[in-house]
């Protein structure tokens, strides 16, 4: 990790990989939003099956288990 004062640190080797990760998180988040909207349309609790981002995080942090 590079941590220079005031600059964005680099975590995964280079800034491009960090940006790719951020994009994956955004995608997971947007799928979660869609899942919430579908749940509402189906008359269910919108948080009930919003699991996309959780699954992304679990996959990405497998090594911590």
């Amino acid at each position: 990790m590079k941590t220079r004062r005031g600059e964005r640190p680099v975590y995964l080797g280079d800034a491009h990989t960090d940006r790719l990760l951020a994009a994956i998180v955004v995608l997971g988040q947007e799928i979660g939003v869609l899942q919430r909207r579908v749940a509402v349309l189906e008359g269910r609790d919108p948080g009930e099956d919003s699991v996309a981002l959780s699954r992304v995080v679990e996959e990405l942090t497998k090594e911590s288990r």
């Binding site: 975590y11 990760l21 951020a22 997971g28 959780s54 995080v57 288990r65």
Partner: protein, 380 residues
């Protein structure tokens, strides 16, 4: 007052999300919570069962320094991924709140303007210099920084801070984000000074007044003043307080040199202000607090607990914010001898104490411990 679906108390200038924004903000809330507690606990377990034992085999004992732990964990892929996700989650949280705020900014600015003169007061002073410690980085990765203005009468930074902090803390600061002020009152003042009846109270570094308002509620006879260097925070703070019907006098002043007459206040407080400043500023703030107090008056500065109250791995996790969340003074403040500094500020050493009280906000330590906040307390 109504509450949003996630529990935050609504008021006239809250940048309340629409349905899509609320879902996105909830996704980030869930992400941040999972990383801060579930994944952090797994990283601690990995450290305790694999990394620390490996270090101990080589060096004869597990690390006792957060700096050594930091060097070890910097090489750990799981920690790298955790850090990358936390930083990304923080940036995306602000981006989502910024989008929602921008959509409503014109309305919020109009509401704030209409509340001027309704209750309390707002006094801005463009000659107040924003201290270097607030200009060095965009604190908490907030896109506006703590103080920047995007136009006349701008309150964007305040709106971002109010909504963003609620998500950031996953609601741990309470429906009105006022846990710090409430904690000081309920767990210190009401316990140790139950008969306190201050005539004048000053809250330093008040930002949007989250912690100020509990004082206005608890001591309705007092004249409550709150200061900050950031005009957008103060505009928002006044409108928010007015929306709750609480009379607070907000003013753009620097806590290091407020300009108030000596002996103006019975109670001088701040809440998680010190870690946003510098060692020199902390000394100046303590000295200014002493000057502002009437004889017998009370100073209370609330700040997250010192490193001495945590084990080395918790120290490492807490220190994460220093470089990864643009909090340059976050670690150093935890090492200061605040009692000695208060004595240098003029307080009699026997009148100075440090306390640790319960609070709702839990720091990321990889443990399931309750939230605590430290106080430096002194009576003039």
């Amino acid at each position: 007052m109504n509450r949003l679906a996630d529990g935050q108390l609504e008021h006239a200038v809250l940048a309340a999300p629409n349905v899509g924004e609320a879902y996105r903000q909830q996704e980030i809330w869930d992400l941040k919570t999972r990383l801060a507690y579930d994944v952090a606990a797994r990283i601690r377990q990995r450290y305790e069962t694999e990394i620390a034992p490996a270090y101990a085999r080589e060096h004869g004992a597990a690390p006792t320094s957060r700096h050594v732990i930091g060097e070890l964990m910097a090489e750990d892929p799981a920690t790298q991924m955790w850090s990358a996700l936390r930083r990304s989650g923080q940036e995306q949280m602000w981006a989502l709140v910024a989008d929602s705020t921008a959509r409503q900014l014109s309305r919020l600015t109009g509401v704030a303007g209409s509340l001027l003169g309704s209750t309390g007061s707002l006094t801005l002073d463009a000659s107040v210099q924003v201290p270097a410690y607030l200009q060095t980085v965009d604190i908490h990765c907030m896109p506006t920084g703590y103080y920047r203005e995007t136009g006349p009468d701008d309150l964007t930074a305040g709106a971002l801070y109010d909504r963003g902090v609620y998500i950031y803390a996953a609601g741990q600061l309470g429906a009105a984000n006022d846990d710090k002020g409430r904690s000081v009152i309920e767990h210190y003042l009401d316990v140790h000074h139950p008969g306190l009846a201050p005539a004048a109270i000053l809250d330093m570094g008040c930002s949007v007044g989250h912690s100020t308002l509990p004082y206005a509620e608890r001591y309705p006879e007092a004249e409550v003043h709150a200061i900050d260097v950031a005009a957008p925070m103060l505009r928002y703070a006044h409108a928010r307080a007015a929306s709750f019907g609480l009379p607070v006098h907000f003013a753009q002043r620097d806590a290091e040199a407020t300009g108030y007459a000596a002996g103006s206040f019975d109670l001088v407080v701040s809440h998680i202000l010190l870690h946003e400043t510098s060692t020199k500023a902390v000394q100046n703030i303590l000295t200014e607090s002493f000057r502002l107090l009437k004889p017998g008056g009370l100073m209370i500065h609330a700040e997250y607990p010192p490193f001495t109250t945590m084990d080395p791995f918790a120290q490492f996790l807490v220190e994460w914010d220093t470089t990864n969340n643009n909090e340059p003074f976050w670690s150093t403040v935890r090492t200061l001898d605040l009692e000695a500094m208060a004595a240098r500020a003029g307080f009699e050493p026997g009148q100075v104490s440090r306390e640790l009280i319960p609070t709702g906000r839990r720091l990321v330590t990889g443990q399931s411990s309750a939230g605590r906040i430290g106080l430096i307390v002194a009576r003039r």
